[in-house]
């Protein structure tokens, strides 16, 4: 089902970008209580932040498994964070290795570099 396939990829890209850029579950170190247990302070990408993903499907059946089928729910999650980290290096010359790539981390890296 190519439509569902593209949607899975688009959704995975948005989720992973959120994890790379703005999402972080914060815990108060003194009490262990969550600080941002709501969707305002825990920040998934908003509709204006989420990009329109251009999905290009390259069909290559697996050599093993049922009908050569691949799973697609998880793989799109792997790529956006490294891609963004590489882009930051390309733009600024610093490596940020811990997502989310927040302003504080970029500032600290630029000052340290």
């Amino acid at each position: 089902n190519p439509f569902a396939l593209e949607q899975q990829i688009e959704g995975g890209v948005v989720m992973a970008m959120g994890a790379a850029l703005t999402e972080e579950m914060l815990i108060d170190k003194a009490t262990g209580l969550p600080l941002n247990g709501n969707l305002l302070d825990y920040k998934p990408l908003s509709i204006k932040d989420a990009p329109l993903a251009d999905v290009i499907l390259v069909e290559h059946p697996k050599e093993y498994g049922v009908f050569g089928a691949h799973g697609i729910g998880e793989p799109p999650m792997a790529l956006p964070a490294p891609a963004i980290a590489n882009a930051i290096y390309n733009a600024l010359g610093v490596w940020i290795t811990e997502p989310p790539f927040t302003r504080e981390k970029i500032q600290a890296a630029l000052k340290g570099a």
Partner: protein
């Protein structure tokens, strides 16, 4: 949510007398987007901040809703819906700073329900204040968790005892426009300049403004800006929509040739009250704006006292002030 009684007020006098009768657990209601949908839903309460048992609906009072943009001062009723302010053609022309600031509030859904008065008088977003299990000073407790905890979104200027940042975009913009608030209560009616309306934590940690428990804002008055006033608004956020400001800047000023003549630069998201950056204004007075702005906006670093996690805001503030003033010149 705790059960409460809703009272529809039909006039300002009725609202005042209801508040007097019902006592300190009665609160006025505008759009309810934060009072009901935030504070009451999330059980934000403490010894000094009881959850309201009664809500007095001000949106049923006709006098409090409306925009008079042809008067001087321009007058906006406190229960005017934010979307109406944004879409009002005369306001867009005369007070673009206010309409631009209002455009960056939350999301369209919230702007369609929220009122100007509600936005100006809203409670802060500090996650310790909003957290059920943190009994902080602002709720009548005996501790501020942000000093030793995660304070990345807290104040870099003016925090003392309590380190919240003022959440309201319209309050920041209106302070730059030198607005005044009309307030009524059991003691009668009075006019308070926005310069004097907001209260820091040392004045009263339980409130962010000078309103007494039986008082409420009825109108906001803005003097018609002088001919040629340059205005601009910027709001830096983590995401493009919904978020409250990390740092926001409102500027409204007049020029004398290329030089800064008179005006205000206000910042949101940096202090417990909308912060007027006098140190930057003073550095610009009488000087060529384009040539001096970088050095002048750097002056904000001299008044900032960052906490353990929020030093990044200082650089953001300096850069954003410069960007906003230059943006105003471009217009």
């Amino acid at each position: 949510m705790k059960a409460f009684q809703l009272h529809d007020a039909n006039s300002v006098q009725e609202a005042v007398s209801l508040l007097g009768q019902l006592g300190p657990t009665a609160k006025v209601l505008g759009g309810g987007t934060d009072l009901v949908g935030g504070i009451m839903k999330d059980w934000v309460q403490g010894k000094g901040m009881p959850l309201p048992d009664h809500l007095v609906d001000l949106t049923t009072i006709k006098d409090l809703n409306g925009i008079n943009a042809s008067a001087d001062p321009i007058t906006i009723g406190a229960t005017t819906i934010l979307s109406e302010i944004i879409e009002h053609k005369d306001l867009q022309t005369k007070l673009p700073l206010l309409t631009e600031a209002a455009k960056t509030i939350a999301s369209p859904d919230i702007r369609n329900m929220g009122t100007l008065g509600g936005n100006i008088n809203q409670r802060p977003r500090c996650w310790f204040f909003r957290g059920e299990n943190f009994n902080c000073y602002k709720k009548g407790g005996d501790f501020c968790y942000s000093v030793t905890g995660d304070n990345r979104y807290h104040a870099i200027i003016g925090g003392e005892l309590c380190y919240i940042v003022h959440p309201s975009d319209t309050a920041t913009a209106l302070l730059a426009l030198n607005a005044q608030a009309k307030v009524v209560g059991s003691g009668g009616e009075k006019t308070i300049a926005f310069d004097d309306y907001f209260a820091g934590p040392r004045v009263d940690v339980l409130r962010e403004n000078v309103l007494k428990p039986d008082e409420f804002m009825t109108h906001v008055m803005i003097p018609a800006p002088a001919q040629g006033t340059k205005m601009a608004w910027t709001k830096l956020k983590d995401r493009l929509v919904y978020d409250f400001a990390l740092v926001s800047v409102a500027v409204a000023f007049t020029m004398d040739g290329n030089n800064w003549k008179d005006g205000r630069i206000t910042l949101g998201g940096v202090a417990p009250v909308p912060y007027r950056a006098k140190v930057v204004e003073d550095a610009l007075k009488g000087k060529d704006v384009k040539a001096t702005i970088k050095q002048a906006s750097g002056q904000i670093k001299t008044v900032a006292r960052p906490m353990s996690n929020n030093a990044y805001k200082v650089d953001l503030a300096a850069g954003l002030i410069e960007r906003t003033v230059l943006q105003a010149l471009g217009s």
